[in-house]
């Protein structure tokens, strides 16, 4: 469905991008820049998950595995063979993609519950493999891997926040763009149909298995490159930080809060969730360990029961009213 781009829409987008780009120079507060960086990061992961979990309606509860595969691939290639993490990022993305297809191929044929179960199993399997004593010589095991961050742009290393900030923002924009393209394509419609009623979709000539695999692949690739970013930003990765079940749930939560199967849902979800998460884990992490995860559990339950479409429905109405005021929305014949 081609949403006709009104001048209004383009203006808003342009202004937003401009503001975001100027922010680091205007705000001298590096903590704020860090916070925004984190927001973009989780938004990227949310957008990634949304493609398979939102549009296609397949609940993947093991996305951290793809994230971790991306992180470890680029890191190991860099440490062992001196391959630039820029290249490693692409390789990692592809490896994540291949894993997703390998998991999906048998499991998408089954009832969806089995797929979710399989993703949990795959996620845990990855984590346990990487953390095992057996794999330690290769993966660093539970001790993880350290990446020396010196000032070396060609090796994806920067010594201050700004470059990372612009990079993750660009990556997030790319994911939004991909999401948008999917949503407005026949492929996107196919995914939505699969989500609503897969058998009916099949009767309309849609190869649902192929569509789900394709969505899964794109989703995993994006999660994988986010993994490399994580590795190069934080300089340290270990299986529990990158591949745990909790990370998978957080990725789901970002999109769940914001709104599944919408382009901007994950962004909204990240804007809401990331600051709260950062605040609670930093302020309360020590004394009240487990509080923020407990809150996550509660939020998941509440959203699922009360507002399953996510918070984006609230903004939708606000935005529509704004548009109506300016009266520049063209007659949108087919959009939702």
């Amino acid at each position: 469905m081609k949403k006709q781009w009104s001048n209004f829409n383009l203006l808003i987008i342009g202004i937003t991008i401009g503001i975001v780009c100027l922010l680091p120079s205007v705000i001298q507060n590096s903590f704020m820049v860090y916070m925004l960086l984190l927001i973009f990061f989780w938004a990227l992961l949310g957008e990634a998950w949304n493609i398979i979990g939102g549009f296609a309606g397949q609940l993947s509860l093991g996305h951290a595995a793809y994230f971790g595969i991306g992180a470890y691939t680029s890191t190991l290639l860099s440490i062992n063979y001196g391959v630039s993490p820029w290249l490693g990022m692409i390789v990692g993305g592809f490896l994540a993609m291949i894993s997703a297809v390998a998991v999906g191929y048998p499991c998408f044929r089954l009832k969806e519950v089995y797929y979710s179960l399989a993703t949990i199993v795959f996620g845990e399997m990855m984590r346990l493999t990487f953390i095992s004593e057996l794999a330690r010589p290769w993966t660093g095991g539970a001790q993880g891997l350290i990446i020396q961050i010196k000032d070396n742009p060609l090796q994806f290393q920067f010594t201050n926040y700004e470059p990372y900030y612009y990079l993750i923002f660009a990556m997030m924009l790319a994911s939004i763009f991909i999401s948008y393209m999917i949503m407005n394509s026949k492929f996107g419609l196919d995914l939505l149909a699969i989500r609503d009623d897969e058998d009916a979709a099949k009767s309309l000539g849609i190869d649902t298995q192929k569509a789900k695999l394709k969505a899964s692949a794109i989703s995993a690739f994006l999660a994988g490159i986010a993994g490399t970013f994580y590795a190069q930003f934080f300089g340290y990765i270990d299986p529990n930080a990158t591949m745990s079940y909790v990370i998978s749930l957080q990725i789901v939560l970002v999109t769940l809060i914001g709104g599944k199967a919408t382009v901007m849902g994950p962004i909204l979800g990240s804007i809401v969730m990331t600051p709260i998460d950062a605040y609670t884990s930093m302020m309360l992490g020590g004394t009240y360990q487990g509080l923020h995860l407990m809150a996550y559990g509660m939020v998941i339950v509440v959203i699922v029961m009360l507002k399953p479409q996510g918070l984006i429905v609230l903004t939708g109405r606000v935005f529509e009213r704004m548009q109506a005021l300016i009266r520049q929305t063209p007659a949108d014949r087919s959009g939702v």
Partner: protein, 292 residues
């Protein structure tokens, strides 16, 4: 010990462990059968039962196995409450909502325990904890033997309940065809509540049984949930016999893996079995092929 002795030891240990998995699996498969919900919070319920039993033990010194009296009714009612409050409203919602609801609950309960009682490992040490008997060259921990026996007994009790009592039969009818059962006058809501209560109670029993054997910690549930999944996948969702036999198979597989490779790889056994079953016989080994 030579290889055969090692394997026999592993086999026995596996059977004992497996009976625990069967017990937990029975609870989960009952819930799946009756309501179509995979209860991801089952492990957390087991954990809660352990903590309840632990605290009663600490404050009253009651013998560990008598703690059933506390843990089982408690978890039964907790289970019913969960069904009424969380499951019932979403019984007709999408499968994603149902999965996320119990996933969220599990996350909540696990971290609630973490918050309340910290991550410190606690244990209940009784004379039983370290005693064992020798049959030939094979060492068998008494606590595990008792756990196994009581699990089996519980399984039999559940079987009798399902086959002989009016409510049990109603439950089986509901599991087969909800619409038909309700048309025949079965109070589906009550059956759901009770089924969830029973499923939770089974987890509670398992919790008390492992009190002398395992450390009490918020994450103990996670240790058991994966083999429990493997059990119900292997046995088939809603399949009673499947859960019984499946649990033992998983236990043996895990144990033999631990003995031949290393303890680290225990869980790999569960993983592989889940994957193989999903690939080749997703309805489980014991269910007749229904899907098209």
């Amino acid at each position: 010990m030579d290889l055969t002795q090692l394997l026999i030891q592993g086999l026995i240990a596996g059977i004992l462990l497996g009976s625990l998995y069967s017990l937990i699996g029975l609870g989960m498969t009952l819930i799946v059968g009756v309501m179509g919900i995979v209860n991801f919070a089952n492990g957390a319920l087991l954990m809660l039962s352990m903590y309840a039993a632990y605290w009663v033990f600490v404050y009253t010194g009651v013998a560990p196995y008598a703690l059933f009296i506390v843990a089982v009714p408690l978890l039964f009612f907790v289970g019913m409450a969960i069904q009424r409050g969380l499951i019932k409203p979403i019984i007709h919602a999408s499968y994603e909502a149902q999965i996320l609801a119990t996933v969220g609950l599990s996350l909540f309960l696990t971290n609630f325990a973490l918050l309340m009682w910290t991550a410190d490992y606690r244990s209940v040490v009784t004379p039983l904890s370290y005693s064992s008997i020798m049959i030939g060259d094979v060492t068998i921990s008494i606590a595990r033997l008792i756990a196994s026996g009581l699990s089996a007994l519980t399984g039999v009790a559940l079987y009798i309940f399902l086959q002989r009592t009016k409510m049990g039969k109603a439950m089986r009818a509901t599991a087969q065809d909800r619409v038909l059962a309700s048309l025949l006058g079965v109070n589906i809501n009550r059956i759901d509540s009770i089924a969830f209560g029973i499923g939770s109670s089974l987890a509670a029993i398992a919790g008390v049984l492992i009190l002398p054997i395992y450390y009490v910690s918020p994450t103990i549930g996670d240790t058991f949930i994966l083999p429990a999944f493997a059990t119900i996948v292997l046995g088939g969702f809603g399949n009673f016999i499947g859960a019984l036999v499946g649990g033992v198979i998983i236990g043996i597989a895990e144990s033999l893996t631990a003995v031949t490779f290393s303890s680290e790889f225990r869980q790999v056994a569960s993983f592989l079995i889940i994957i193989l079953i999903l690939l080749y016989k997703p309805e489980g080994l014991f269910t007749r092929r229904l899907r098209e």
